[in-house]
């Protein structure tokens, strides 16, 4: 799979400028964000969230989802780097935006945040499905949890959930632990386990289920337990990132400010984890974290610096690559001890872990196997939360030239002796035989 991915994945920095005029390879963070709302009230009811984005330097462009003038691109150029869909009930987008438009927006490397809600429209569900997330098909269903609901003044129907089943990834959720549970009220969704692009960031507790809270449960709910995902992220193969949640209110000022106490837990948190969670995950979605780039792939024979056009079998070579991570403002050296390089021809002949110098330079040296053919240096680095690196560089390996073999083999000296003594003997014999008369 990997080779074709070079263009899209590893060197995303090369592809993107052609699709987007402000998304430069050197600064992969999104800048211009289009926010589509059902109602401008959301702008104020979720202002904390929007302000945190603005304070990080994003230009938010608020539009109504059915505004007839909205457009994602003009003259083939995308006008935005990211899209936030806070419009769970929209049946039809205005302007030139439609399902296919949003999908091709994502497929050209742009990011997307989708917040659905109970009674989310088919259109929003459709977008989510295309991204690999299946919302509960029952339009009136909500996630109900009778064990880990958030304690509130009224008993309620236990649809306000205090979720703390976070994904264990510092890259996605930041290195600071989220102590308080996240308040969630909305619909759940499920993921296809075979889909390796989508990750469950906040999963429901094992006791949760998805059903209509207002009606009596007659049939077993289709979605139950921790199979329910409350918040999921998708990293597409081109490293476009998508956040999908079934609750728009988890971004609201009310939930941000609200205190939370999980049922059955003695601790009451002054402030819910929503703000930290939302901020951290938006950093990930907008490429402020976990975005890697690999540059300066170099290889050469030991003791040389020039990159050869091809190697000979049994050559000793050195391979190096520099890997950096985008910190939101600058490229920092990426430090890890699990980056591996393969010397690959239909199967890896050499698999070496690269050692790094803490400054982003990863290098190793190895001997070319005693097999000739067209090899590839392959780095397939797919780590949870990070953009996938997939480098491959084709390099032929030739056999020995005719004059690169040993000229004289020590073990063969008896045979050389035999041959030459035979020749000399024959010469003497012929001489004697011819002239001895």
């Amino acid at each position: 799979m990997g080779k074709l991915w070079v263009i899209f994945v590893a060197l995303i920095s090369i592809l993107l400028p052609f699709l987007c005029n402000s998304f430069s390879p050197e600064t992969p963070t999104d800048r211009r964000v289009l926010v589509l709302l059902d109602d401008f009230a959301i702008k104020s009811s979720h202002s904390l969230y929007f302000n945190s984005l603005k304070s990080r330097g994003f230009e938010l462009d608020f539009k109504l989802a059915d505004d007839p003038n909205i457009a994602l691109q003009r003259y083939g150029q995308y006008l935005y780097d990211a899209l936030i869909l806070f419009c769970p009930s929209v049946e039809r987008f205005g302007g030139s935006v439609d399902l296919a438009g949003i999908l091709s927006f994502v497929d050209s490397g742009h990011d997307l945040i989708i917040a659905a809600d109970a009674n989310a429209s088919d259109l929003i569900r459709e977008v989510a499905t295309e991204c690999g997330v299946d919302f509960d098909e029952d339009p009136s269903a909500m996630v109900i949890d009778h064990t880990s609901y958030a304690v509130s003044e009224t008993e309620g129907d236990h649809t306000l959930i205090a979720g703390d089943g976070f994904i264990k990834s510092d890259v996605i959720l930041g290195s600071k632990k989220i102590n308080a549970p996240v308040l969630f009220k909305g619909i759940g969704h499920s993921l296809n386990p075979a889909n390796n692009l989508v990750l469950k960031v906040l999963s429901a507790s094992p006791a949760a289920y998805s059903a209509n809270p207002k009606s009596k449960l007659s049939t077993p709910p289709s979605l139950t337990g921790s199979a329910i995902s409350l918040v999921s992220v998708v990293q597409a193969r081109n490293n476009a990132r998508i956040l999908i949640t079934g609750s728009i209110s988890m971004f609201s000022n009310r939930f941000f400010r609200s205190g939370v106490q999980k049922a059955g837990s003695p601790t009451k948190h002054e402030k819910s984890g929503n703000e930290q969670f939302s901020t951290e995950i938006s950093k990930w979605v907008f490429h402020e974290r976990g975005h890697l780039k690999a540059v300066n792939v170099k290889h050469h024979k030991v003791g040389e610096t020039e990159e050869p056009a091809l190697y000979r079998i049994n050559d000793d070579l050195e391979y190096s690559v520099e890997i950096y991570e985008w910190s939101g403002t600058s490229w920092e050296p990426y430090v890890a001890d699990d980056v591996q390089v393969q010397f690959y021809m239909m199967s890896p002949y050499v698999l070496k872990t690269l050692s790094n110098n803490k400054k982003g330079l990863y290098s190793t040296s190895f001997k070319v196997p005693d097999v000739y053919g067209v090899f590839q240096f392959k780095v397939e680095y797919q780590k949870l939360g990070y953009t996938s690196l997939s480098l491959s560089k084709q390099i032929p390996v030739r056999p020995y030239r005719h004059n690169e073999y040993e000229r004289f083999i020590p073990a063969a000296y008896p045979y050389y002796g035999a041959a030459f003594s035979m020749m000399a003997g024959f010469f003497i014999f012929s001489f004697v035989h011819l002239y001895s008369k």
């Binding site: 799979m1 080779k3 074709l4 899209f8 999908l103 994502v106 497929d107 088919d122 569900r125 459709e126 989510a128 499905t129 295309e130 991204c131 690999g132 997330v133 299946d134 098909e137 993921l191 296809n192 075979a194 889909n195 390796n196 692009l197 989508v198 998708v234 597409a236 193969r237 081109n238 476009a240 091809l310 021809m345 239909m346 000739y372 053919g373 067209v374 090899f375 590839q376 084709q394 032929p396 030739r398 056999p399 030239r401 005719h402």
Partner: protein, 687 residues
């Protein structure tokens, strides 16, 4: 080159007392030879005139590419050439697996012309190498036949060889294959062998080894030589015609020839390790034993010799038969005597039965009469005649007769006695018949050269009621690949088109006509026989970006991939047993119509060949299979059509990239969006 030899050689054979006549004959044969050369060259130019100066078929494209490499990079890089653009990702060591004679010859011609400031392209030189060497081959035939029979026979044989259709078929202009130079090398080697045999000159024996070396360089067919000459030598020995000249003709050839052959990388140690060379070594031993026996025979008196033979044979038998038993020694001696007597009688009887030998059968070792030599030559000549005209020996022998009859008739006065054996009328009629036969032969050869063997097979033509149609689809497709794909892209196709793709499109191929790795071919065969997704995975694992299929259904081009498809299935199934031939056959019949099996209708080859085919005529009528295709409307999910040539003969598909996103489960159809989405849902392969 031929001139001096002709004039000097003509002297002893013809009339002895008329030097003017000889000189005239020499000049005449020189010009006849020149004309034969022109004939041999020009009869092969039909392909250039009717089509264009272009390399033909498949293997010549490889040779052409190798020659280009040689002229660009020089001989050492050629010798050590590891080609990374074929057999991806295995590569191919070309320097060590190719017979370099043809390439080096054309490369030398090109280099020579360029150093004379004649800037011919490599392609032009390659195209015309075969016709040039056909002229050389006719001249070599002249020399060979002259050595055997005389100048007149030589000229006739040369003229015949110049236009024998089977040779034309391998050597028309553009047919740049090993045989182009190898036939010349073959004939010339035989000529030098005969020459050595006739003269006993070590000089010619050395030349013979060098000619043999050139033959080894040029073609795997050198094993003809290294087996036929030992057979001839053995025959000579068995029939008692051993002579020192035979020894000189044979022993240096084996020693020097084998050493030289081992220098060719593709032969190497095969020259002493494979069975096709063993006959020559066996005969080499035999000829030494025989030489020794003749030597002993020469220094002993006949009686002593018999005693010696008896002794040796009986001791040998004793060792062989009785072995460790050491049984009755006297019985051994008796049987030894009997055996040696029997052998003696046997050889004598053979000698008596051969014409021309009976008078000289008493001669001893090392002394053979001219009659023996002549008889030898006769034997050699018939052998050679058959060799050089493998296809039509009968016609050729008739020619020989004609020539034999013709020649005396022109010199009727001198040899009346012999001629008068036939009545005048009968000989006139016979002559006329022979001339007619010869004329028809010429007409036939020219027709064959013009019509049958001149098609380059990369450009096709057809005549129909509305005129001539030219199908140049192959070059169109290769040109498209060359101009529209990345230089390192890999193109998969059935192996037939590998050489052409690398040479004309300059793109890396997975398999080519040098079918050295069956597993690799089977992998491609399996991919072609698999359903789309499995095929995509196979091709993707080989980094393939484009798939090329040849499809003749629209214009009725019969040698397309659908007709070759069963071989892909068989070869693929030979290595990967999940491909089973019966799955592709309906009741043992290979068909692509509505009766075809679903495996057949869903395999990649069917889909790539017939994708959108129904759009051409609305019915999907395949003109090669003469039937409507079974599955007309289908979509490709993992491949996309990127190019189809004018007559649909070559279709190029690109592998789609894996989907950027993986969809969730397909939901229950929703009235609002189902119609809009159904296409996407079905097409999506990544679900």
């Amino acid at each position: 080159m031929a001139a001096p030899e002709t004039s000097t050689a003509a002297v002893p054979t013809l009339m002895t007392n008329n030097s003017l006549r000889n000189a005239f004959g020499g000049v005449l044969s020189f010009f006849i030879l020149l004309l034969i050369g022109v004939l041999a060259f020009s009869i092969r130019l039909f392909s250039v005139i009717k089509y264009e100066s272009v390399i033909h078929e498949f293997d010549p494209y490889f040779n052409y590419r190798v020659t280009q490499f040689l002229t660009k990079k020089g001989i050492y890089d050629f010798w050590n050439w590891f080609d990374d653009r074929t057999w991806y990702p295995l590569g191919r060591v070309i320097g060590g697996t190719v017979y370099p004679g043809l390439t080096l010859t054309a490369g030398t011609i090109w280099w020579f012309l360029n150093s004379l400031n004649i800037p011919l392209s490599v392609e032009t030189v390659c195209v015309f190498t075969a016709p040039i060497f056909s002229a050389f081959a006719s001249w070599a035939t002249y020399l060979l036949t002259k050595e055997v029979k005389g100048a007149g026979a030589g000229l006739t044989a040369a003229a015949l060889l110049a236009m024998v259709p089977s040779y034309i078929s391998r050597s028309v202009a553009g047919s740049y294959d090993n045989e182009a130079v190898a036939i010349f090398a073959l004939i010339f080697t035989f000529y030098l062998y005969i020459k050595t045999l006739n003269t006993g000159s070590l000089f010619y024996a050395t030349l013979n080894s060098i000619a043999y070396f050139y033959m080894v360089c040029s073609w795997g067919g050198y094993t003809f030589i290294i087996n036929l000459i030992p057979m001839h030598v053995l025959l000579c020995i068995v029939t008692g015609r051993y002579s020192s000249r035979l020894y000189i003709a044979y022993a240096p050839l084996v020693v020097l020839g084998t050493l030289l052959a081992a220098l060719v990388p593709v032969v190497g140690f095969n020259a002493v390790m494979t069975s096709e060379h063993f006959a020559s070594f066996l005969v080499f031993i035999v000829i030494h034993v025989v030489a020794f026996v003749y030597y002993i025979k020469g220094i002993l008196s006949p009686k002593m010799f018999k005693v010696a033979v008896t002794l040796v044979v009986s001791v040998g038998l004793c060792k062989l038969i009785c072995g460790p038993l050491y049984s009755d020694i006297s019985a051994c001696i008796t049987s030894g005597i009997a055996l040696s007597q029997a052998f003696d009688v046997f050889t004598r009887s053979i000698k008596y039965q051969l014409p021309g030998v009976s008078s000289t059968n008493e001669l001893d070792a090392g002394e053979t009469s001219s009659a023996t030599a002549e008889a030898q030559n006769d034997a050699v000549k018939t052998e050679k005649t058959e060799e050089t005209s493998k296809d039509r020996p009968s016609r050729k022998s008739k020619k020989k007769e004609k020539e034999q009859v013709e020649k005396p008739s022109t010199k009727a006065k001198a040899e009346k006695k012999r001629l008068l054996a036939l009545p005048l009328e009968a000989s006139v009629i016979a002559l006329l018949l022979l001339i007619m036969l010869g004329a028809f032969y010429v007409v036939h050869c020219v027709w064959a050269a013009a019509e049958a063997y001149s098609a380059p097979s990369i450009v096709l033509t057809s005549h129909s009621h509305d005129g001539l149609h030219v199908f140049d689809d192959f070059r169109e497709a290769y040109g498209w690949l060359r101009h529209n794909t990345d230089v390192d892209d890999k193109v998969a196709s059935w192996w037939d088109y590998g050489y052409q793709t690398t040479a004309m499109a300059n793109r890396t191929v997975i398999v080519d006509n040098n079918t050295w790795n069956n597993t690799h071919i089977a992998t491609v065969g399996t991919a072609m026989s698999s359903p789309e997704k499995a095929a995509w995975e196979i091709f993707h694992s080989l980094d393939v970006k484009y798939v090329l299929v040849v499809f003749g259904g629209l214009v009725g081009y019969p040698s397309d991939d659908i007709n070759k498809f069963l071989w892909m299935v068989r070869i693929g199934g030979g290595v990967f047993p999940h491909i089973k031939e019966p799955d592709y056959l309906r009741d043992g019949q290979y068909r692509i119509d509505s009766q075809a099996t679903s495996t057949m209708l869903n395999c990649l080859m069917y889909k790539l060949s017939y994708y959108r085919f129904v759009e051409t005529d609305g019915k999907g009528f395949d003109r090669v299979r003469r039937t409507e295709i079974g599955k007309k409307y289908f979509k490709l999910t993992h491949f996309e059509e990127v190019f189809t040539t004018h007559h649909w003969m070559v279709r190029i598909y690109k592998l789609k990239l894996p989907k950027n996103r993986i969809r969730g489960k397909t939901k229950k159809s929703k009235s609002k969006t189902s119609s809009k989405r159904s296409g996407i849902t079905k097409k999506n392969p990544w679900h």
